[in-house]
């Protein structure tokens, strides 16, 4: 009897599972979204997704695109590249989405590039490592980055440190397992060396590390004029605390992961830091976005929310321009993007699928507050 019950329940479950129709119904455009929603970088994934949702709601309220409403399908990758690939395949093969919005993490963006090339459904995201958008033989046709790439960011930070702060002796500590962090450290160091500076010491760590005092002590001993720390936000905060904790008080040069919530995490240890960012609170277009976001979600947005919002709007424009729901036509239309978003003007270089020389804002942390210095372009030298 029990067995019979079990079989009936199982059959009902299968029936329910398969009665869910994959693919779009009439009058809908399906857009995929792959983000870390529950693991180490979930704080970004959730913000990115919120930004996308905000854009989707606005677009649908205006009547959608081509007379159809957008439906977003989000899969959680837990920050794991394997899960991200599965999610992409599922979005393309089963859900039949027209395009995918990607996460702000390079470790996920890089493996997606070659798969997107085969499956021919475009991905728009914020994987800053150059390898997510180009390879040695040219551009990954279906990958698009909507912010300055790693080397541009690293060079903006380096040139600011050398030319404006007049620093020349640096220590560098980066996450060896995080392609984003590596791809910031290397151009930073080459720029410094090219401009007559010195890199006194290079220290590394891995994902999940929380104890950096051994590395910080070595940095202290090398006696640099500044320390370059291009990690993810929690690592940056811990390194700041531990550097200051053993008495390293020289300026820290950061990356775009030194913004909110860094000060909350590191407190006074964050002071005396200079870093480039996609955004600053006193830029009007960001203030407008903040108001929108706070009204909808009742909390402050991180920069990743702006990224999601911009990415979705770029995609919507491209679908409109393509005039049909064909991923390849949409990809061609994305290439023609000329869009002024929250993060600035985005226009892709056809050779790289990255926006060329998009400005970044240099900020400094003083008395536990972010202070805007000004907008900077990637240096040409």
């Amino acid at each position: 009897m029990n067995k019979l019950k079990m079989i009936v329940i199982l059959m009902a479950m299968f029936f329910l599972l398969f009665s869910y129709s994959w693919g779009a119904s009439e009058g809908e455009i399906l857009v995929g979204n792959i983000q870390d929603m529950s693991a180490g970088t979930a704080i970004w994934g959730q913000n990115d997704t919120n930004g996308i949702l905000l854009a989707v709601e606005e677009i649908n309220a205006r009547g959608g695109i081509l007379g159809k409403k957008i439906r977003l399908i989000t899969y959680d990758t837990k920050g794991d590249p394997t899960e991200a690939i599965n999610a992409y395949n599922r979005l393309v093969d089963l859900d039949k989405v027209v395009a995918v919005l990607g996460p702000p993490t390079s470790n996920v963006g890089i493996p997606l590039a070659s798969i997107a090339e085969r499956k021919k459904v475009p991905v728009i995201g914020d994987f800053m490592d150059e390898r997510a958008t180009t390879h040695s033989g040219g551009v990954w046709n279906f990958m698009f980055l909507t912010e300055p790439c790693c080397s541009e960011q690293a060079e903006i930070a380096a040139s600011y440190a050398i030319k404006e702060l007049k620093l020349s002796k640096f220590a560098v500590i980066y996450n060896k397992a995080n392609s984003y962090s590596v791809k910031m450290a290397i151009p930073f160091m080459s720029y410094v060396i090219k401009h007559g500076g010195e890199v006194l010491i290079t220290e590394t760590y891995l994902f999940g590390d929380t104890e950096f005092r051994a590395q910080c002590t070595k940095i202290k001993n090398a006696n640099p004029e500044a320390v370059f720390v291009p990690g993810y936000v929690k690592d940056n905060a811990l390194i700041a605390k531990q550097l200051r904790g053993i008495g390293v008080d020289v300026p820290i040069i950061g990356n775009n992961s030194w913004y909110v919530p860094l000060i909350e995490l590191a407190g006074a240890a964050a002071n005396n830091t200079y870093f480039p960012n996609n955004m600053a609170i006193d830029i009007p277009r960001f203030q407008d976005f903040m108001k929108l976001y706070e009204k909808r979600f009742d909390m402050e947005p991180l920069i990743h929310a702006c990224m999601g919002y911009d990415n979705m709007n770029i995609l919507a424009d491209a679908i409109k321009k393509a005039g049909k729901l064909d991923p390849i036509a949409i990809k061609d239309a994305i290439e023609q993007t000329d869009y002024l978003g929250v993060m600035g003007k985005i226009k892709f270089n056809p050779q790289t699928h990255r926006p060329d020389r998009m400005p970044l804002v240099m900020l400094k942390i003083e008395n536990e507050e972010y202070v805007t210095i000004g907008e900077y372009l990637a240096p040409l030298d």
């Binding site: 693991a39 590394t204 070595k218 200051r244 904790g245 053993i246 008495g247 995490l265 240890a269």
Partner: protein
């Protein structure tokens, strides 16, 4: 530089020791590696954080909140996941698997209820450093090292000088004989979970202060497990020695070789211990008593 690194290693080791002894306590009594201890640390840390947010408690009170909630959490885990297994005399592997479940469950519970945003405790003691010549040490780290030591001595006193502490050691020594001698084994096991949870909660707050508060914090229990293996599972003092050794070892490997080789070398050392000297440094041979 050497002295500074030694000091770094010792203060890290103090935290590992605290983690390992709470972990080892359960191993002593029930003979399984209790990975739910990571979850206990996590819950302790988050509860202490919210207690701090609401009451603006001092460092001492926040630690107390963390410890007590850790203790309660461990007892709840024992009642829900361990007691049913003990009742039907289940194999030790079930205990082990259940403890991993407990650890993961607490992580996802935090993700689902509190969310993934990072939190921090404030600078309880300010950010001032103590400088002695070339050596610099943050006040907070020093305070934590002292509190760890006091706690460890307190635990030793409890285990060796009080009646209920002696009962825990008796059960650890031989659960059946202790029961025949009239010790209420079930009660003692709950008590052990509570004491282990107190240590776990305390340790969780330390970790939160040091490394920010985030849902994956409980995964650091792997270090506690490593410390227990090196020090000797089944011994009471072994994990303390193991923890301090591991902290110093990790710091020196990172300082003088490279951070990318540290985990490799650590696991090789661990493997060697398991192969050559499974009883650990303490040298107490524990046999499974089934």
């Amino acid at each position: 530089m050497f002295l500074q690194q030694l000091l770094n290693g010792l203060s890290l080791g103090g935290v590992y020791a605290l983690m390992a002894i709470g972990f080892g306590l359960i191993y002593n009594v029930l003979k399984f590696s209790n990975f739910s201890h990571g979850g206990v640390m996590l819950i302790g840390c988050y509860t202490a954080y919210f207690a701090f947010k609401i009451f603006h408690s001092s460092l001492f009170l926040t630690l107390l909140f963390g410890a007590i909630s850790g203790g309660l959490c461990a007892v709840i885990f024992e009642k829900l996941a361990i007691v049913p297994l003990r009742k039907r005399n289940a194999p030790k592997i079930y205990f082990f698997v259940n403890s991993i479940n407990g650890g993961l469950l607490s992580e996802y519970l935090i993700v689902a209820t509190v969310g993934v945003f990072f939190h921090t405790f404030p600078d309880f003691l300010g950010t001032t450093n103590i400088n002695i010549g070339q050596i610099s040490f943050s006040k907070l780290n020093l305070t934590m090292l002292i509190i760890s030591l006091i706690t460890l001595f307190g635990l030793m006193w409890y285990l060796y000088k009080t009646k209920s502490g002696r009962a825990i050691r008796a059960v650890a020594c031989d659960i059946n004989t202790a029961s025949l001698m009239g010790v209420d084994v079930n009660q003692v096991i709950s008590l052990t979970f509570f004491v282990s949870g107190l240590l776990g909660g305390l340790c969780g707050v330390f970790l939160g202060i040091n490394y920010t508060i985030y849902p994956q914090l409980g995964k650091l229990i792997v270090k506690g497990w490593m410390a227990s293996v090196i020090g000797g599972l089944g011994s009471l003092l072994g994990p303390v020695v193991g923890g301090i050794l591991l902290g110093v070892l990790e710091t020196f490997l990172t300082a003088y070789i490279s951070s990318s080789f540290t985990p490799i070398l650590e696991f090789i050392i661990l493997l060697m211990f398991l192969l050559i000297r499974p009883q650990g440094i303490a040298g107490v041979i524990v046999e499974e008593k089934v």
